[in-house]
């Protein structure tokens, strides 16, 4: 089974955020670039599944040159190849369109993405890609296996409230992978250095024939969250604090 894994390079921390004149994105300075957490889980699950089924795992991202780092990490985790769509996009719909266009050019059976990126926090791209490609989809998946029937996979996904659903999906399909229990491995320096020497193919948007999408969302402003509903802080040393807290607890019991 050939697997494409969509990953996103996100900033480790953000300083000096601002909204540019074009109002189509958020600008900021990032001290470090890392792979989005749920994408890391998707990456490991995808590579594992590809190896198990004797297929290839290809890591994709839609980002600028600085995003290459996470593709190299993917190669360091033994992905077979890496692809980058050279575009710095903000709106989830635009990102999905760009990635879907790149995916259409690939030979694949399954697309795996994460569930939500830590920067835009939209949780839309994975499912949007599925619908744009007309493929069956599943969200918040915790396990993927080869299905019993030919050309299917079996997934387990979270439904919330302590419930999970086991589903069979026809391939090709798109699956959004949830963060898991085993933290993803880190890529040791050696593998990073070897990965850095591997070529990474990149596409421009025009090469992918994606129609420019009119921006559906206008970013008006960026600010710190309002402190509404701030808790009443209990001051003092731990003994005092505990005493006051206990009082508050006994009041409602």
């Amino acid at each position: 089974m050939n697997i494409l894994i969509c990953t996103k390079a996100v900033p480790g921390f953000v300083s000096h955020p601002s909204v540019p004149e074009s109002h189509d994105r958020v600008d900021y300075e990032a001290g470090s670039i890392v792979i989005n957490e749920s994408d890391d889980y998707a990456l490991e699950a995808g590579i594992k599944l590809a190896k198990k089924s004797g297929g290839k795992a290809v890591v994709l991202t839609c980002g600028s040159l600085s995003a290459q780092k996470i593709l190299q990490a993917g190669l360091g985790k033994d992905a077979d190849a890496a692809l980058r769509v050279d575009a710095n996009l903000f709106e989830p719909a635009a990102t999905a369109r760009a990635l879907a266009a790149a995916i259409r050019k690939q030979d694949y059976d399954l697309v795996i993405t994460g569930v939500e990126s830590s920067d835009v926090m939209a949780a839309q791209v994975g499912i949007s890609i599925a619908e744009m490609l007309g493929l069956p989809f599943a969200y918040a998946v915790t396990e993927i296996e080869l299905g019993e029937r030919n050309r299917t996979i079996q997934i387990t996904k979270e439904l919330g409230f302590g419930k999970k659903q086991v589903e069979e999906l026809d391939l090709p399909a798109v699956v959004c992978f949830q963060t898991g229990t085993e933290p993803p491995s880190f890529v040791p320096v050696r593998k990073m250095m070897l990965a850095q020497r591997k070529p990474i193919k990149s596409f421009t948007l025009s090469e992918l024939d994606t129609r420019g999408q009119p921006h559906g969302i206008e970013v008006v402003d960026i600010f710190s969250p309002k402190e509404t509903g701030m808790a009443e802080i209990i001051e003092g040393d731990p003994k005092t604090q505990a005493s006051v807290a206990m009082q508050k607890i006994r009041e409602v019991l």
Binding site: V14, P17, V26, Y28, P92, A93, V120, M121, A122, A123, Q124, V125, I127, S128, A130, E131, M132, L135, F137, Y139, A140, Q154, E158, G160, G162, K163, K164, Q165, V166, E167, E168, L169, D170, G180, T181, G216, I217, V219, V220, D221, I222, F223, S224, P225, K226, E227, T228, G229, A231, E232, I233, I234, P238, Q241, A242, A245, M246, K248, I249, L253
Partner: protein, 324 residues
């Protein structure tokens, strides 16, 4: 903005989920402001009970989407059914929760209807003809205000528990059963099984007091101390997702959107930062007391009382108070 406002309602075990009331409340406000109608849909196979409560919630129209194939949640079928309803109704605005349903079905719906979606919103207002929403970015450390300009329908998913649930009296909605055409044979996905977390007899949703452990307590060796507090108060232990993932406590204790939603009288959050997936599932607790070293932890925006300090110092003091 033109067209109706449609709320995608959620329900479970015959009871309407709170998010629906929150969306209806907001939807009503917007509908009145724009002089348009508010509809709510619910998907399932036996909806009569729900229809009654929805009909008196303040909407103008209730759309029970009923079909035997829709008995259990099925992403593909639900998306198709809701899309068909939207094609018939042609709403200008679709409101849903930032829930598992909203995250799985919402984006697919947006693409299928050729509309514009903004997710994870905590506020929305009408500014003239436009809708303006506030949503979190960068791990919740910042928020942005966005204006929707793209193709309609506009789809918005709202964080659960943030909007008020104002009771809107005095209106009885019309009920119209939409016709949906669902073809089982052309499905590309099939439900094989439903699983429930094995709670091993522990039901934290029944507890009146919960002492909840977050990653900030430092390690599994700190759990016994929290258990001592829970016992002293006559309550039960709970935890955040990372704690359950790491195996410090069984997943039966997990409070979060993927596990249990709780509403105890007292919820003591120890070393929990307050990620939205956790907060959504406990914010309706009677009294929330948060203990965290970090004064900027988001939990302090939800808690009623906060102690900025070291869990390892405060909890022993609490145990003494509880026992003494």
């Amino acid at each position: 903005m033109k067209g109706e406002i449609l709320v995608i309602g959620e329900h479970r075990d015959g009871i309407v989920d709170n998010i629906t009331w929150e969306l209806i409340s907001k939807g009503r406000f917007l509908a009145d402001q724009w002089g348009t109608h508010l509809a709510v849909l619910a998907v399932g196979s036996e909806l009569d009970q729900l229809v009654d409560s929805l009909a008196s919630s303040g909407v103008d129209l209730v759309l029970p989407v009923q079909h035997t194939l829709l008995e259990k949640y099925h992403a593909e079928l639900y998306t198709t059914a809701i899309a068909q309803v939207c094609e018939q109704l042609d709403p200008g605005l679709v409101l849903m929760g930032y829930t598992y349903l909203g995250m799985e079905v919402g984006p697919a719906l947006a693409v299928r209807l050729g509309g514009t979606m903004v997710s994870n919103c905590s506020e929305l207002e009408a500014e003239g003809d436009h809708l303006v929403a506030v949503r979190s970015v960068f791990g919740g450390t910042l928020q942005i205000k966005v204006r929707l300009k793209g193709e309609q329908p506009h789809l918005l998913s709202i964080v659960k528990g943030v909007l008020p649930r104002d009771n809107v009296e005095g209106r009885i909605a019309a009920v119209k059963r939409p016709a949906v055409d669902l073809d089982q044979s052309s499905l590309r996905s099939r439900i094989l099984d439903m699983l429930t977390i094995d709670t091993g007899g522990i039901d934290i949703t029944k507890a009146k007091i919960l002492v909840s452990a977050g990653r900030g307590i430092g390690g599994p060796d700190k759990i016994p101390m929290l258990r001592e507090l829970a016992d002293a108060l006559g309550g039960e232990l709970a935890c955040s997702r990372p704690v359950a993932d790491m195996g410090w406590l069984p997943v039966a204790h997990q409070v979060g959107i993927s596990a249990s939603t709780v509403t105890p009288c007292v919820y003591i959050a120890c070393g929990i930062s307050g990620a939205s997936q956790h907060v959504t599932a406990m914010r309706d607790s009677g009294r929330i007391i948060a203990i965290n070293k970090d004064p900027n932890a988001p939990i302090f925006r939800v808690a009623h009382y906060g102690i900025i300090g070291d869990v390892l110092e405060v909890v022993p003091a609490l145990i003494e108070e509880a026992k003494g």
